[in-house]
Each structure stands twice: as C-alpha cells, then as structure tokens.
C-alpha cells in the first residue's frame, strides 16, 4: 500500500473523528493531585514507606456525610500513561514482516524505546514536545528524549476564555485550568502522526507501585490497513483483584472505545505482583494479532528504609485493612484467631530473618526472600502467520485450527531475543517504527539475583520455558507470593516452568555461585517451538549472561 493511500485514510479517519463527537474525543487525564494524593509536589516521586496511611473524614463533625481522605503518611504517587490502539508491523526471526493489531506508546516514548516502562509521574507526563512529532518517532528523530504525553497542548479555548472572563469579572469557564494551560486537551494531529501504524509487540510496558493511582489513557487511532473494520479497543487489566466491571475492559460488560476516541482507565494499584494487560475485543483475534502487554506492581517493601526491619515493616502494613493479610501470632494488635482473608498470600513470614529494607523485592515478603538486583519482564506469546495474513487481507478467520509458528519472548524469536535495543520495522507507511522495543536477554552480575517476571499471553497452547544450568526459584504465581496462610514460604526450585496463556509467574535466578562470562540458555523443550516458521532454528529461546 502506497503512503499516499495511507495518507488518505489518515485524513478520512480524522474527518470521522471530528464528525462523530460533539466534544473533543481525544483527551488525556493525569491530574497533578487528587483526594487520595492531595499534595501535587509530593506526587512526582515515591515517598518512603514508614507507616500505613491514616485517614480522616472530610466532614469531621458528621463523618457519615463525608468520606475518608489521608491525614498523614500519604503513600504512593500518581502515575500516568497513554497508549494507542491501532495496527502495525513487526519483524519475525526469519525476516518476515508480520501485520498486527497492536498497541503503541503515546507517552514515555523514550523510556519505551530503551526497554523501560512508559509509565510516568505527572510532572513528566504533563509536558509538551518542544518541536513537531513526526511519524515513526522516536525512531525517526535521533537523540529523542521526550517522555511526555503525545499531543498534549495548552487548551487555548480555556486559556482565552479565562482571560476574557477575568477581564470582564465574570465566572471562569475553566476554573480548574492549571497555569500551564494543560488540562488534558490534545492536538489530534500529533497523536495520529505518532500513533498510526506504530504498533508494538509486546504492547507498551507498564509499571506502578503499590498505593499509586494509575491513569491509563487508551486512544483509538484506527487500523489503517483494515479500513473495513471499525474496531473498538479496550484494556483488560488481567488478574487485578477486586476489579471494577467498568474498568475491566470487557466490551460485553462495559464500554469499548471507538476509533477517534480516548478513554482513561483508573485504578488504585492492586497488590504487588506480575500482571498483564490486553485488548478484550474479540480476544481470539485481537490477542493473537498482538494486543498483549505486561504490567507489574512493585511492592511497598521497596520503599522501606534500609534501617527498618522488613518484618516490622510488614507488621505495620497490617494496620491498613485494604492490604492486611492477618494470621494468628503475627504480633499485630488486635490478635486474630485465624487468617482473616482467604485470598491473601503474604501474611507475616513464619520465620523471622532479621533482614532490613533498602533493596528491591518482588513481593511484600517480610523476610527479604524475594529480593533481587535486576528485573526482566518476559512475555511469552505466539503468532500464527496464516492468521496474521488472513487478518491483513479482509478474509474471515478460522479459530479452531489456529496454530502458532512464531514463538516469541517479548515479541521476538531467537536470535532476535538477544539483540540489544529496540528492533525497528518499516511499516506500510514506508516509515521505520520501533516495533519490538524490549530485548529478552538477561544480564546478571555474578553474585547477584535477577527477577524474571514471566507472563504468557499465548492464545493457542501451553508453553514451557526451561533453564540450562542456572536453576529457577519460583516465588510467585498468578501475581501472588507463594506462601501458605500460616506464613510458610512455598517456593520451589526447578529447571522448567509451564504456563498457559493467561498466567504469570515470578522466578528468581541466583547467580551467587556463577562466574563472569558464563552463558546459559532459557529455551523451550517443546522442540517444535524452537523454530521461526519454516526455519528449524530459533523460536522460544534467549540467553542468560553472567557478567
């Protein structure tokens, strides 16, 4: 398809977007402060966790008529992210360009390009790009460092309206407009320029901390290669405990976002763990086509000062009923006679290790047993090239005999898995895009530990990942610490793990006894998955380097 035709589609889509909505339908949301995080200046970094948040009613004289707001120890911060829902191309291990339905980054572009989460604090998200973003960015522009929201621009209607009203002494039309004029209003051109044909596999990485409020804006830029499909998209936060149906992303049970529209998902960060997210529109199609990504939640324990015992810090957490996981004899007042929450998995550990905080941990373990030095998100997926071809060519798909031929770790097959940096693919707009930003190579300094956050979003079959030489210690499963309700750790050491699509698992690789220069392989013993379509070499494999 020539770029001229693509351009015509882009114009047509913008036209549709303008006609459809009375109000502007692309928008982002990233408040600098909220009732939960009331002080804007404190919301651009993670404060140390020293005590559970205490609350007071907004109506102290008649608490029944108010609601609870923090009075002290405000924990967590605000995090924002914007993503596009659309299409794009990726490069397979055998050089084939594969068409995808896909999400792409519309914030944190520089961070995503360097393999990091594109999740930003408000003071980063709410910044404007000093120049003009062009298609393919950040791949097109050398030295690209912008991490703000694509398209964000001052709301000139509000700015001038407020100016006029102030001069006239009348009520402001936009009373909450920040001095910057940035109220979430966006210029759709920048969003279309960057977002169209800019799909990533895996979808943009997200990471938040417990106690954060998270604002995720999905902007549907349309699928240029499939103008016949007026596809909506959604985000399902897979595995979120006590999710709301409204923000669960299931189109049957909530709203789905039309082309030309934006929707901001809102969650208070759930319990720490490795989750993932995906579009929930026609899942066998949109997931197979590539609309799958990872989101992980870092534990409060990361914010416990180095002088504080992890055990006592976890005791402190029990004061917060939202996250309490009580067990008998956990030393917390008032004592309980049995576990109070059947679904929680991180009660105080049965054995006190006496370790202090200051490190990075997979979970609020209270004993330091999930400590790691470096973490790697690893997403297992598979592409069926026949389905992707059919998906590009206007034919009805078959589902029952879907058969993956490309087996992917972070959207790449071996040997691409160990290629450093972002992989780029020239899309049908004849522009190169960062299609696969996330390498799957694992680098560990000898003597240190790596946390692998492994999620599987394959839609056709179970996948096994085995480790040659360096054992895998499984500490978490389905975003839950492996611990019984009496506090005993149920970790196990293995050399292979098997996951279904829709599962996640946390593995620690311990390089304590390894030496610099060693190389190990993570690969699948399902030998037919060690291939890139017709190439009998590659597939679901990557390397672990001990440095």
């Amino acid at each position: 398809m020539s770029s001229k035709i693509v351009g015509t589609f882009v114009l047509a889509l913008i036209g549709v977007a303008v006609q459809q909505a009375t109000a502007q339908s692309f928008r982002v949301q990233c408040p600098a402060s909220t009732i939960t995080h009331p002080t804007a200046a404190n919301n651009n970094s993670e404060p140390a966790y020293t005590a559970a948040t205490t609350f007071v009613s907004t109506n102290p004289s008649a608490p029944a008529n108010g609601y609870l707001v923090p009075s002290a120890h405000v924990n967590g911060a605000i995090k924002c992210q914007q993503i596009s829902g659309g299409d794009g191309y990726a490069s397979m291990g055998d050089g084939t360009q594969t068409y995808m339905f896909s999400f792409g980054p519309l914030s944190g572009l520089a961070d995503i390009a360097s393999g990091n989460p594109g999740t930003e604090f408000p003071n980063t998200f709410n910044t404007t790009y000093p120049g003009t973003l062009v298609p393919g960015d950040p791949a097109t522009t050398p030295g690209f460092t912008f991490n703000g929201a694509v398209g964000l621009t001052p709301d000139l209607d509000c700015v001038s309206g407020n100016t006029i009203a102030t001069a006239a002494g009348s009520a402001l039309p936009c009373p909450n407009l920040p001095a910057s004029g940035l109220d979430g209003h966006v210029d759709p051109r920048a969003i279309m320029d960057v977002g169209v044909m800019n799909g990533n596999i895996p979808a943009p990485l997200m990471a938040i901390d417990e106690d954060d409020e998270y604002f995720l804006t999905l902007t549907n830029v349309g699928m240029i290669m499939r103008p016949d499909l007026f596809e909506q998209h959604t985000v399902h936060f897979h595995g979120y405990p006590n999710a709301s149906a409204f923000y669960d992303g299931v189109p049957d049970a909530s709203v789905a976002i039309n082309i030309g529209g934006s929707f901001t998902y809102y969650y208070l960060a759930p319990d720490a763990g490795t989750y993932f997210w995906h579009c929930h529109i026609t899942p066998p199609e949109h997931l197979q086509m590539g609309m799958v990504g990872q989101i992980y939640v870092r534990p409060r324990q990361n914010r416990v000062p180095a002088t504080t015992s992890l055990y006592s810090a976890l005791q402190v957490q029990q004061v917060d009923l939202r996250t309490a996981c009580r067990r008998p004899n956990d030393g917390v007042t008032p004592a309980v006679t049995s576990a109070t929450d059947i679904l929680c998995t991180n009660p105080l550990p049965a054995v006190q290790t006496g370790l202090n905080g200051g490190g990075k941990y997979a979970y609020n373990d209270g004993d330091g047993s999930t400590r790691y030095d470096v973490e790697y998100p690893i997403q297992i997926h598979g592409f069926d090239p026949n389905f992707h071809f059919v998906g590009m060519t206007f034919n009805p798909e078959g589902f029952a005999d879907m058969k993956d031929k490309y087996f992917l770790l972070n959207g790449r097959s071996y040997p691409d898995t160990v290629t450093p940096g972002s992989m780029e693919t020239e899309s049908a707009d004849s522009v190169k895009h960062f299609s696969q930003p996330l390498p799957a190579i694992i680098n560990i300094t000898h003597g240190q530990k790596a946390l692998l956050r492994i999620s599987d979003l394959d839609v056709t079959e179970y996948q096994t990942l085995a480790s040659l030489g360096i054992p895998m210690q499984v500490v978490g499963y389905n975003a839950k610490l492996l611990r019984d309700q009496a506090g005993n750790n149920l970790y196990y050491t293995t050399n292979s793990i098997t996951l279904a699509g829709g599962e996640s698992l946390d593995v620690i690789l311990d390089a304590t006894n390894n030496t610099t220069g060693q190389v190990f392989y993570l690969f699948t013993p399902q030998l037919d998955h060690l291939s890139n379509d017709a190439e009998n070499f590659g597939g679901l494999m990557t390397e672990v380097h001990i440095n």
């Binding site: 149906a245 809102y266 679904l343 389905n478 149920l490 699509g501």
Partner: protein
C-alpha cells in the same frame, strides 16, 4: 472492495447474533447452583442422543442418564422447575452423596451394540465392581448388560467420573460426569452469624432461597461457602462424532462379538471445534438449568453472587485437553485437588493451596476453590453514595467491622451490605452529571465515543439505585439501556469467565462462543433466584 464488504457483513452478523442471544438469555434469567441427583444407590444408563450447539448443529453423542427416577434431587425438584434426570445427558448426572455413605452405582449399557462394552471409573475411591465382565481398568457392562460399582464415599470433595472403556472415544462422545461428596458434618462456624457473608434466613434481609448442597466443602472451618457452582470443561471434535454415527448406523442390528460389530473411529488427528462448559457452549451455558431447549444438556454455567459472599467453585477437567480458565474480578483460593485439602504443613487450620486468577483445568483433575468479590481497594464508592442527595438510598451508612466491611445486623436490610467502608462516599468522577458525589479523580468522556456491551450495567456504579441516580433509568446512551443486565433492573458488575486459550471461546470457528460465561456481581437490591 467486495471482500471488505463481506467482512463487514460477517462482523455485523456476529454482533446481531450476540444481541439476539443476549435477549434470549434475559428471558430466562438463570443463576444456578450445582444441581444433581442423590443416592446413595444410583441406577444409570449409557445411551446415545443428540446435543444441541449454538450454531444450530445437533451432535450425535453418548452420555450417562437415568433409567428410573432417582432417589432424589438436590436442590430439590420443588425448588428447581424442570428438574429431571433424562435417559442421557452430558455431562452425566452429578451424583451427590454424603461422606461415609456406602455408594452403589448400577450401570446399564444401552449404547449401540457396535459401541461395545462400557464402564465407569471413580478415581479417588476404593471401588469394588460386581456383575460385569473383566475390562482393562475395571469391570465393564456388555451391550445390554449391567455392572455395579460399590464404594464408600470416604472423603468429601468434588471428583470426576468417566468411562474406563475405550476412553479416547467414549469420553470424547460424552461419557463423563461429576460426583460431589458433601461433608458428614460441617463446621459450626459456617452457620454462625458472626461470619455472616450470606444472609440466608437473617432477620430483615432480602429473603433468598438457599440452594447449597452443604454449608462447607470440607470438615474445615476455612471451607464455608455461600453459593456453589460446578463447571466441567471438555472439548468436542464433530468429525469423531459424525464418524461414530456413520459406523453405528452402518452396523445397526449387528451381534455382539460378530466380526465387524465394532467401531473403528480414529480419534487422531484431533481438531475440536466445540469447547464446552457443562456440555454447553456460550451463550447456551447461560440459559437455565434443565431448560427444555437442551434436553440432554441440563446443567448451565451462569454464576451470580453478592459482594462478600464466599463462592465455592467446583472445577473439573474432562475431555483430553487442558484449558486455562480465567476468572475475571479476583483470585480463586484453591482449597483442594481431587478431594484432598491442601493445608499448611505447620498449621492444619491454615490453607496452603495457591490463589489463582487462572485455574488450569486438566483432564481427570477436580479442584475446589473459593472466590469472593468485595470491590475493596477500588478507591471510589461503587454504590455511588452521595450524602447531599435527597434519595435515602444514596445516603446509606457504612459501619466497618474488624475487617473494614459494612456487616452486622444493622446492615442486613441495606443494599450496601458488605460494602468496603474505607471508600464509602468517596467520589469517582470529578464533575458527575447525575446524583452521585463529585470531586473524584476522573472525568468520564462523552458516551458517544463508546460502544456499550450487552452486559454493561449502564454506569460505572453497582446496582439500579446508583446507576439510575448517576445516569438515568436507561443508563448512558446510546444504546438506550443494555439488554442483559439492565440499568434499572440488575445493573450488576459483569465479568467474563473464560478459557484464556482464546481460540476456545468460539463455537465452530464463530466468535463469541465456546468456553465462556458472564459472572454477575449483584447488589442486594437484586434478588438472586437460583430456581430457574
């Protein structure tokens, strides 16, 4: 351009189909327990019949059924209209017995003669067979003959049963079912008002009928439950069924043991096109139990629950594949595997099974798990309470118990029973349109840029009162009101529970279908009636 139009037509047809289906399931709102037949003496038969699928196909299958009225039904036939045990059903009748009972199952083989012998295996029980002929795994019933299996239901829990004869074909054809052993004595704490997560019989509460088989899954205080659902997963390759039918038809009247009086149906390569929960594909699984539309598929999969209730999930892998069953909305605490409680090695009062958001079903394996939903931690009041409202239901109070929930006798009659009080009155929207509190973190955009789902309750909030206050009696528009979970009637939180091998949520290559259901969290305004 023609192919593009074709795709659009297909897409629209699918949507239309989904809409029709949704209306159909509304007309027979069905939310039901784990129905079955009681013994302890059962007289079963194995017979052929046709199963219906949502694509209109009738699939020749074999199943277990009853030759006479069983000793009883649970829940009782007076509670559930249409209760029956047909001569053949898939899955087979759920056998409900009590721990310690001596169970006897007599099976009569009424399959076509060419199908040969058949049998039942009861994994996990010490079975003594009698009256049959020797088979590979157990005694079998010859065509027209019988066999009896005797065992003591020694331990409680959920188990599968299935054919032990030419299993690759007979299980595929539908010869499988479940046996539930309820504990001989449930812990007293399960009926104590002190932990009242359900309100059966509570003074002042919205009366709902109790459809449970027991109050606990095991003789263990951590296994109390308020509702229960049984889901059996199996897949089906119609080619195998069609070949079986062709061969059976060709061999009509053949004599047992005569040359050629047997089936030679290849069961590989295997290409299943139907993915079944309790013998039905979505959306049929959300129609009523014992619906006359499915005479040989009496059991549904249509879970409903109120916030705070402990819901027992009895999940069995039948068939030959694993299926990653993903439960939206919360984790499931696995209590037991094949009837064996998983307890802490140091403290037998504590559970040690994993908490999972995806429960993999494995052939022959049964799991018991507890699920609940409370909305804890949403950081906004899901009931949309508004102290400034003139509506008394918008101004309900929330008195936290030791765990932070609105429980206790004073709340029994309130629609926000078991509300998470830390978020009480806390606004979601910055500047709401309707009668809910403002000042919250988010701005909901123009509803015109959305497409609403058939199970969308019409607002972000839970229950008709909150939804009508927030948006009006039809919820947000367009469309004007949703059809399967109406804003003014139910407005529950709907969550999809489905196989995450997503190609399995299709029926014969059409989406949606297969191993999928909608689970509804209903506020207390909505009476969950499991009788239909």
């Amino acid at each position: 351009m023609r192919p593009m139009n074709m795709k659009n037509v297909l897409l629209k047809t699918r949507l239309l189909l989904a809409a029709i289906v949704a209306v159909a399931s509304l007309s027979a709102t069905a939310h039901a327990a784990a129905p079955g037949i009681t013994g302890p003496n059962f007289t079963l038969t194995a017979q052929p019949a046709y199963l219906t699928q949502p694509d209109g196909q009738a699939i020749y299958s074999w199943g277990y059924g009853c030759t006479r009225t069983p000793a009883g039904f649970k829940p009782s036939a007076t509670l559930m209209p249409g209760t029956a045990c047909p001569t053949m059903q898939v899955p087979g009748p759920t056998l409900i017995v009590t721990q310690g009972q001596s169970v006897s199952i007599t099976l009569t083989n009424q399959l076509p003669t060419a199908a040969g012998n058949t049998s039942i295996l009861f994994p996990g029980f010490n079975v003594t067979p009698a009256g049959g002929v020797a088979g590979l795994l157990t005694e079998e019933a010859i065509p027209g003959g019988t066999v009896t299996y005797n065992f003591v239901a020694s331990t409680p829990g959920t188990h599968s049963y299935y054919s032990g004869t030419q299993s690759d074909l007979q299980i595929e054809m539908g010869l499988y079912g479940a046996i539930i052993v309820v504990p001989s004595s449930a812990p007293a704490v399960c009926t104590s008002p002190a932990i009242r997560s359900n309100l059966y019989g509570a003074a002042g509460a919205n009366p709902e009928t109790d459809f449970r088989l027991a109050t606990a899954a095991y003789n263990h205080a951590k296994t109390c439950y308020d509702r229960e659902y049984l889901f059996q997963f199996a897949e089906m390759d119609p080619n195998i069924h069609n070949q079986a039918l062709a061969q059976v038809t060709a061999r009509t009247g053949c004599v047992t043991g005569a040359p050629g009086c047997s089936l030679e149906v290849p069961t590989e390569p295997y290409h299943p096109a139907y993915f079944l929960i309790n013998g039905r594909s979505m959306p049929d699984d959300m129609d009523a139990n014992y619906s006359p539309m499915y005479p040989h598929q009496p059991y549904n999969g249509n879970p409903h629950m109120h916030p705070g209730e402990n819901v027992l999930l009895r999940i069995i892998g039948q068939g030959r594949w694993q299926h990653p069953f993903h439960e939206h909305a919360n984790h499931v605490r696995i209590l037991a595997r094949d009837g064996n409680l998983i307890l802490s090695s140091t403290d037998p009062t504590s559970l040690a099974g994993p908490a999972l958001f995806t429960t993999t079903t494995t052939p022959g394996v049964a799991m018991d798990g507890i699920f609940y939903y409370t909305g804890r931690g949403l950081n906004w009041d899901m009931y949309g309470h508004n102290p400034a409202s003139t509506d008394t239901s918008a101004k309900l109070t929330c008195t936290p118990d030791a765990n932070g929930y609105n429980t206790g006798p004073a709340a029994y009659s309130a629609i926000n029973y078991f509300e998470w009080c830390q978020d009480h009155n806390k606004p979601l929207q910055a500047a709401p349109f309707g009668d809910v509190a403002g000042g919250g973190p988010v701005t909901l955009p123009d509803a015109n840029i959305f497409t609403n789902g058939a199970w969308y309750g019409g607002s972000p909030y839970l229950g008709p009162d909150a939804t009508v206050r927030a948006t009006g009696p039809t919820g947000v528009t367009p469309p004007s009101g949703t059809i399967a979970n109406s804003p003014g009637g139910e407005a529950g939180f709907a969550f999809m529970w489905h196989s995450h091998n997503e190609r399995e949520i299709t029926t014969n290559n059409a989406f949606p279908g297969g191993m999928m259901m909608m689970m509804l969290i209903d506020s207390r305004e909505f009476t969950i009636d499991e009788s239909n």
